[in-house]
Amino acid sequence: MDGRDENELARLMRAALAGDGKSYDSFLRAVAGLVRSLARRKVQTGIDAEDIVQETLLAIHVKRHTWRHDAPVTPWVYAIARHKLVDAYRRRRRGVEIEVGAIPETAVQPERESISDHEIGGVLDALAPGQRSAVAAICVDGHSIGEAARHLGMSEGAVRVALHRGLTAIAKRFGRM
């Protein structure tokens, strides 16, 4: 990460916070790349790097108001990613200080279901039905807001509200686990 990347990322984030969805999309994709390479270097057995990426993106989204507009954005992103990484370690009841090599490979993870192949997918089931269908239509089936609204027989506004509440609820759940 050099200074030019930082400037570009900060520019995208500022535009995103001003309401530019395209910039927000590029910002989140760039962040996903950064966090993915961090997570791949740091994860231990039993933790999926992509889970860390997704939890970090979600935390960045619901906590985006904690970024100071005149502060560099990469330290903020990495702080959130580290926080989520430590959370994941804790959830697996292992100290952060344990080295990867120290854990025997016998700690086999149960096989994951193919539909909710990442943790966020698994948390979907805990949502209220309306929120779940909105989040599932957009995050799992990949519909746009408009498509999801037609599909679910809801207004676009209602889908937006349900999506917002659902995403916030998922983020909160991860914070408490």
Partner: protein, 212 residues
């Protein structure tokens, strides 16, 4: 869930974002002072001789040390509520209030004959001081915990403890106008205990409430 679809969902969730951390903290501060002031006037009010006592350097010292504590804690807790924000540089300011208290204690020990020390230390009503500062401070602490929850503290317990110091500083400064024990010996002992209690409550509560 596919990361790509998650990103699209996050972009689609373009509802107005939450209030900025900075404005939330200033709002919390105003609300906390209003709450503490309301409890103060509802429950006990200023001491009767406040107008005369206000000129005493000992009473002034109580205000100065408590406001110093609140100010230093305010700067630190705001930094602690943002991820990746440097906060260690704000840590030394936290030593200002204890330093002031130590200097005042030294001066008091120098000015007051040693046979009066224990009477000054115990004061008239130490227990009331402990309970009233906690009573005045608990509302502000609750407000600050909500502000922390709105933020994203990387160290929730530490941030909660500092929020407790902030609430304690506000409560101490307000309670000082009621309390007739003005000796720095009294303040350094009992006010400190009350503030430490709020810091402990803050740390324990934030550890559970300010997770994200």
């Amino acid at each position: 869930m596919d990361t790509d679809k998650l990103i699209r969902a996050l972009v689609a969730d373009e509802r107005r974002q939450a209030a900025s951390i900075s404005s939330v903290w200033w709002g919390a501060m105003a609300l906390a002072i209003a709450l503490a002031g309301a409890v103060f006037f509802a429950v006990f009010g200023p001491r009767p001789d406040i107008a005369i006592a206000a000129e005493s350097p000992r009473l002034l010292f109580k205000f100065v040390v408590m406001i110093t504590l609140a100010a230093s804690a305010f700067g630190l807790v705001r930094a602690l509520s943002r991820p990746g924000e440097p906060w260690r540089h704000a840590l030394p300011f936290l030593a200002a209030a204890p330093m002031l208290a130590l200097i005042a204690v030294a001066a008091e020990l120098f000015l007051v004959p040693s046979n009066l020390w224990s009477a000054r230390l115990l004061g008239v009503n130490a227990l009331a001081c402990l309970s009233f500062i906690s009573l005045v401070g608990i509302g502000p602490l609750a407000v600050f915990l909500l502000a922390l929850r709105h933020g994203a503290p990387e160290r929730p317990a530490l941030a909660g403890a500092v929020a407790g110091l902030l609430a304690g500083g506000i409560a101490g400064a307000i309670y000082a106008a009621h309390c007739t024990d003005d000796s720095p010996l009294f303040v350094a002992t009992w006010y400190t205990l009350a503030v430490a209690g709020l810091a402990l409550i803050g740390a324990a509560a934030a550890h559970r409430l300010a997770r994200w």
